[in-house]
Symmetry: C2
Subunit: 347 residues, 2 copies
Amino acid sequence: MSAGSNNNTETTTSRIDDASVTLEDVARLTGVSTITVSRAINYPEKVAAKTLEKVSRAIKQTGYVPNLLAGGLASRRSRLIAAIVPAINNQVYAETVQYFSNSLKAAGYQVLLGESGYPRQDEHTQLISAILGRRPDGLLLTGVNHSADCRRMLLGAKIPLVETWDLTPTPLDTVVGFSHEKTGKAVADYIISKGFQRVGIVTADDRRALVRQKALLNRLEAHGITGTLTSTVAPPTNLGLGRSGLKQLIGQGFHEGIVVCSSDTLANGVMTEARARGISIPEQIAVIGFGDQSFAADLYPALTTVRIDRPAIGKRAAELLLARIDGRAVEEPVIDVGFEIIERATS
Amino acid sequence: MSAGSNNNTETTTSRIDDASVTLEDVARLTGVSTITVSRAINYPEKVAAKTLEKVSRAIKQTGYVPNLLAGGLASRRSRLIAAIVPAINNQVYAETVQYFSNSLKAAGYQVLLGESGYPRQDEHTQLISAILGRRPDGLLLTGVNHSADCRRMLLGAKIPLVETWDLTPTPLDTVVGFSHEKTGKAVADYIISKGFQRVGIVTADDRRALVRQKALLNRLEAHGITGTLTSTVAPPTNLGLGRSGLKQLIGQGFHEGIVVCSSDTLANGVMTEARARGISIPEQIAVIGFGDQSFAADLYPALTTVRIDRPAIGKRAAELLLARIDGRAVEEPVIDVGFEIIERATS
DNA sequence: TTGAAAGCGTTACCAA
DNA sequence: TTGGTAACGCTTTCAA
C-alpha cells in the first residue's frame, strides 16, 4: 500500500496511530464497553459527563474515525443521500446540488453524486444500481421521465425519492420543480406582448428543453406568429454552439426579431455571434435565455431570461427528503417553485 | 417511509420485489450457498456456467442489488474513492473531477465528492473525517498545503493519496500538478518579451493564485518593470469581480498595458468592463487569463491564457491511485503535467 | 447510566 | 467448482 506500511502485528496492546482503530480499541483504552463509546459519539446526552470526557480523550489520542460502512450496515441508515444529475459540469445543476448538499450537511448527511449524462432515458440502470448499492437514505433525481426498469429499481429501493427540475402529478414519491410547458407559454406571451413578429429558436436536444420549445411554438402559432426558425444543438451546450446556432438561423434567412435560447449559455453564444457581426442587441435582434445563470447578466446586460430558483429547488428537495426519512408527514409531495421572466433592457 | 410500505412480515417465502433482498434470498432461490452467489457476481469466471445462469436469473427475478456497505466492510475495500475540491461549482475543478471520475468508473470505482470551500487551511478536518469514515480506497486532494491535523488524519488513514493542482517534492503520497511559481515566471517572461511596460493584476485571494502573482512580480521587478498595480478579490471569482477589478485598477491610474488575471473568469470580466468603457483589446489593454476555460476563447478571441491540462490531471491522478491500490509499483510519485501559454492575437 | 448478546449482509479463509 | 464458518465494526434490543 502507500502512506505507511499496513502490517497488522498481533499485538493486542494499544494500537495508537494505527489505521484500523476500532470502537473496541477506544473502549478498552477508556475502560468502558464499546456500546458506551458508540453512545458517546451518537447520543452524547445519554452518557455521563465524566464518561464522555474520558471517551473524547481516548478518541483524540487514538485518532479514531468511526467506520460508517459498519455503522450503516448495523443501523440500516447510511447517512448518505444520492443525487443524480445530467452533468456536474453544468453550472445550473452544480448549483442545485450545492444548495441541496449544504442543506443536508447540517442534518449530518453526505451527498453521493452520480452523473447520468444526457442519454435517451433519463438515467442508466447501471448507475442507479451502483448508487442503490451504497444504500442511500434518500435520492434526488433530475427530471421525471424514467424507463420502466429505472422506475422499478427506484421504487424497489423503498427509500424517499425526490424528482426535480420538472413537474408531474404522479411523482415516484415527491417532486420539486416547475412546468416546462408553462415557461414555454410564458415566453410566447412575452414575445407577443412585445410585438415581435419574427422568432428564432436555438435549443439543446434535451427532453425538457424540447417541451418548452414545443409549447412556445404552439402558442406563437395560435397568435398568428408563424415561420419560426429553429436550430437544434446537442447538449451539453456551450458558447460555441450558441454562435453556430445563430449562424444557422441567419443562414436560413433570419435577420431581425427575437431569438429564444434553451439556456443562458446558448444565449450568450448567440449574442457573442451577433456582436461579432455588428448586429445591435436588442434593437435588431433581441435574445431571451433560460436559467438565469450568474454570469449571464454581467456579460450582456441586455439579456432577458427565465429565472429558475435553483436555491429553492435544492433546499426544498432536501427538506422533502429529510421529512420523509424522519417519517414526518409531507403536506404536499408536489412542489412548484415556479419561474420568473427577468426582463433586462429589451426596450 | 415512502414509496411503498416496509412491513417485514416474517414470511420466509420468496420476497420477490422486496427492498431487502439479500444474497441469502438469491442463494435460496437458486439452490446454492451465499458464497457461490457472491462469486457469481464478483468472480463469474470462478463459477460453473450453469450455476452462473441460474444465479443471474434469480438476481433478475428478485431485483437483488448487492449491499456495498456490507461488502465493503467484509472485504475492507469500499470501491469508493473520494475527491476533495474547493468548489464543485468551479468549472475548472468540475472538469478535473469529471475526468478523474470517468477513469475510475471503468475500474469499478465510485467517486465521493467533498467540497472544502476556500478556507484558511486547504481542508477542514471535519470534512476529512466524514470522508474517511466511508473508508474510501483512495483520496484525491486539491493543493499540497494541509494543516498538521489534516496531515495526521490523511496519513493515518493509510490509503493511497494523490495531491493535485500543485507540486511538491515531498508529497503525502503522490502528486500530479504543475508549478505555480513557474507559471508566474513564464507569464512574466511573456510580458517582457512582448515589451509591455505597465502591468496590472487582478487576482483571487487564493493560496495558489498568490504564489503565481508573487513569482510574476519578482521577475517583473528583476527586469525593471515596476509600479505594477494589484486588485485582489475574494474567491470564488466571477465576471462581476473581474469587472470591478479592472475598475479598481483604472481608478488607481492604470490605462494601458497588460492585465494579468488569476482565472479566465476574471479575465473575461476584465475584458467585458474594458469593452463597456470603449477600451480596445488587446491594443490599449491586453489581457492574460489562467486555466484555459472552454468558454473563454469563444467569448473573447483576444484572450491569451495559461493552459492547464485538466484531463491529464484527472486521468493521471486516477492512474496513480489505481496503481497504488492494486499494489503496483509507481515509477514516479511526482508528476508535473506542465502548462502552456496560449497566445491569441495579443499582437 | 451502562453492558451483553445478537445481528446487519457480505467476503476471506480453509476444506471438501 | 462449491460450501461452512468466522469475521468485518458497528448498532439494536433487552436487561441490569
